[in-house]
Subunit: 250 residues, 2 copies
Amino acid sequence: MAFPQNATLEGFIKRLTSRSALSEQELLALHSLRGHVVTLSPHTDLVRQGQHVEYASLVVKGLVGRFGQNKDGGRQITCFHIPGDMADLSSLVSPQATWGLTTLANTTILRLAHRDLRGAAATLPGIAEAFWRDCVADGSMLSEWLVNVGRRNATSRLAHLFCEMGIRYELAGEGDRHCYRLPATQTDLGDATGLTAIHINRTLRSLRDLLILTLRAQTVTVLDWAKLAVIGDFDDAYMELKGGGDCLYN
Amino acid sequence: MAFPQNATLEGFIKRLTSRSALSEQELLALHSLRGHVVTLSPHTDLVRQGQHVEYASLVVKGLVGRFGQNKDGGRQITCFHIPGDMADLSSLVSPQATWGLTTLANTTILRLAHRDLRGAAATLPGIAEAFWRDCVADGSMLSEWLVNVGRRNATSRLAHLFCEMGIRYELAGEGDRHCYRLPATQTDLGDATGLTAIHINRTLRSLRDLLILTLRAQTVTVLDWAKLAVIGDFDDAYMELKGGGDCLYN
DNA sequence: CGGAACGTTGAGGAGAATCAATTATAGTGG
DNA sequence: CCACTATAATTGATTCTCCTCAACGTTCCG
């Protein structure tokens, strides 16, 4: 694709409009955003904890993990960012990073200057509101992950994660909930669920033995979505997929 | 106090201004907000999961827990809200609650109509930005809780929680980090840390035996803050206490 | 072809859950 | 003011989930 960044910007804007009503003018302003593309290999830090960032990172291809760490270096991934996701929209109003961002696979990023994004938000308050709403949706996902890690067992946690990622990849137009590519290692899955890689491996085997799901060559194949959703205690309401926020500015 | 709601509004506004620069006019608009007061006994649901809310809840007195649940009824508290906290500011742009709110103690709430808050935000974009930034700070705290539950052991989790609450009560002007009243039960502490009440009890005893912290009659007394912070792996950066967000609108 | 990263499996152990019972504390009504 | 009740705290015994350590197999890529 000649201009992958344009296609990705589309994906991001589509996500915004699914939650917020935007005017023609606002859409135009968003479409006219320009950034620059960086290509990164796995395990590259995009943003370090404590860093002052001046651009937001839109994932074009690959996979990015947002994470926090404990003093022993234990890593907790708090969110996966797939193509079309703006990994750190929140940095627009809070540029001092309290989290880190790292690539989990070969990844292409479109960097959009805060200056430009803030300019758009300041000129067109509807954009600011859409950004705000997206940050809130992000928080809702964080809450669900907290419930996942705090109150579900290993099998349930993994199942929940695979359900969420299935829906998200489906919406992003990359595969569907029954079959999608998730370029994360078992270590990454452990870091996302608060488990060890070894236990992820055993849990995956049990899901495979139950004929519910397989993960092979970074491809998730869901054999029985209904069972997976039950085991994962999954209800997509927290993902705030449908708009419904009334508009501040009419 | 004749008008406790006014004093509480002050607390909320002070929190906003600590992170965001607000103009005289914006402050005036915030100060002129009016709500109505409700008094609630412990274990009363303020907001149920899935409910469409039309007002935001500002905690005047007592303690509120935001929570999610798994299918077995297991509860994960995702945030404690103390006096001066707006428990669901995010509902302004996302009124369909994906979380629940419940009182953990005898609690007084000031209910502020979305209509009024949204009106203020729409008229004065600086207010919208301050609200947005507060939602982002909230997300930062959520992330840290996720790290806490996912990547720390029981003692560390509790210690971290007590550090955070100490700082927050100190800033709220209710006690200080070395001694503050936290009207939560051991069950609540378990629900906040992803542990059982029984294990909380044993962990508290171990902290007491180490002469680090005591919890008696809902009063936290920190005997050794330095050790508590080390055990809890605590760094207050994630609380986003200092402003520093540049302003969208100058 | 060789090395590095990732995945798989086993054995043993630790931390937290569960089950069960008892003791404190606080709130309520007589 | 005190008995009564419900809620919360405490403790012990046992179980189980998940971690740790260790080894080996597999895949991918230069």
